[in-house]
Amino acid sequence: MKTFALSIVALALTALTSPAAEKIRVSSFSTVLTEIAQQVGGERVAVTAHIKPGVDPHEFEPKPSDLKTVGDAQLILVSAKHLEGYVGKLKEATGAKGSLVEVGDRFPSLKMKADDGHDHGHKHAHKHGESVEDPHWWHSIANTEKAVKIVRDELTKISPADKQAFASNAAAYAGKLDALQKWVKVEVAKLPRDQRKLVTSHDAFQYFAKENGFTIYAIEGVTSGDQPSSKKVAEIIGVIKAQSVKAIFPESIQNPKVLTEITRETGVKVGRELYADGLGEGAASTYEGMYKSNVTAIVSALK
């Protein structure tokens, strides 16, 4: 009887002190980092996704409830590279409790031209044409693999006892990313090198382009609410013709007349919408799904 009672006490103590009893609280402000934290942390983490798939991170502003959750979090993950203009608020909210990790700032940046009215989360809008850091680092699978290691190491700092589990989970997820990278290479190889031209109106695919041998041609003026000048439209048409571009990938088209004129003059196709700002919905709600959707759209339109 005495042994039985001791066993019950031991079981109760184990339950109270077991890792399952208290998960590591993670707040994520990136759909991609949410997936990474869930994959690497597994059952040891409780991840709050402040930005859900399909939500534009450029437009997101944390609510008081978000800041309260962040205040209780042990690890706060942000994309960085100036995507989140509210990082200051998050730092205030965390106090000294949680570790705020600006993941994207841990690896090199590519530059992009700032758009009028598209400030990528900065407190101040950039002047048109000014060169700024491109925050869309997750379109490079190599960068995403680096992010996996960063999250693994941060989780290990919080819970050294789970080092082995985090390492194992990170390695498994990195294996999936390697397989995805190989799949992407095979798909892109279906296009002759001189057809790897990506004409977009949202300058978000430079990391993708660099990793996969594409050249980016930005068509500014098609998405803004203002009617672009006829000179601007002529320039866009000239680029498309000169580069023998087969398809363009405009986003948030607010100037359908301009788009109609461009397609009529050049015969160019309009490609399916690309997921530029993170994970989407449905099949694109995972990193693999988002990436495959983008690559399939690009390759099928440019073939």
Partner: protein
């Protein structure tokens, strides 16, 4: 002009013929004489050489370029060589290698040696087990 009309016509014919022949000779199209055939322009695609060396020969393999099989073999030897019928663009070429190694085979490798139209040799390797698809870019 006197004389019989028949004689006058004959004279006119002779004069026209006498003037016409040199005129025709000067203005006739030049006769084309076929010379020795010029060498055909080099089809760069003919000059791509590919050599494969396997640690373990796969059950089969395929080499693809722009979704077309350019070399398929269902009973490969440990060393094989072939000239590929494809154009080698100046900016390089991407080849997709599909290997099917036996399921029970250990980690295997294929060494790929590509000789481009300029005679430069490029070497790359593919490692894997089971079914492997890998893109190699040259140069």
């Amino acid at each position: 002009m006197r004389g019989s009309p028949l004689l006058r016509a004959l004279c006119a014919f002779v004069i026209i013929a006498a003037l016409g022949w040199p005129l025709w000779h000067l203005t006739r199209p030049a006769e084309v004489v076929a010379g020795p055939a010029n060498p055909l322009p080099v089809v760069e695609g003919k000059a791509i050489g590919l050599q494969l060396d396997f640690t373990t020969p796969p059950k089969s393999f395929a080499v693809r370029h722009l979704e077309k099989d350019v070399w398929v073999d269902s009973a490969p030897q440990s060393q094989m060589e072939r000239e590929l019928p494809l154009v080698f663009p100046e900016n390089g070429v991407d080849l997709v290698f599909h290997f099917e190694w036996p399921d029970d085979a250990p980690l295997a490798a294929a060494r790929v040696r590509l000789t481009d139209p300029h005679g430069d040799v490029h070497e790359k390797s593919v490692w894997g087990q089971g079914t492997v698809d890998e893109v190699l870019t040259f140069p």
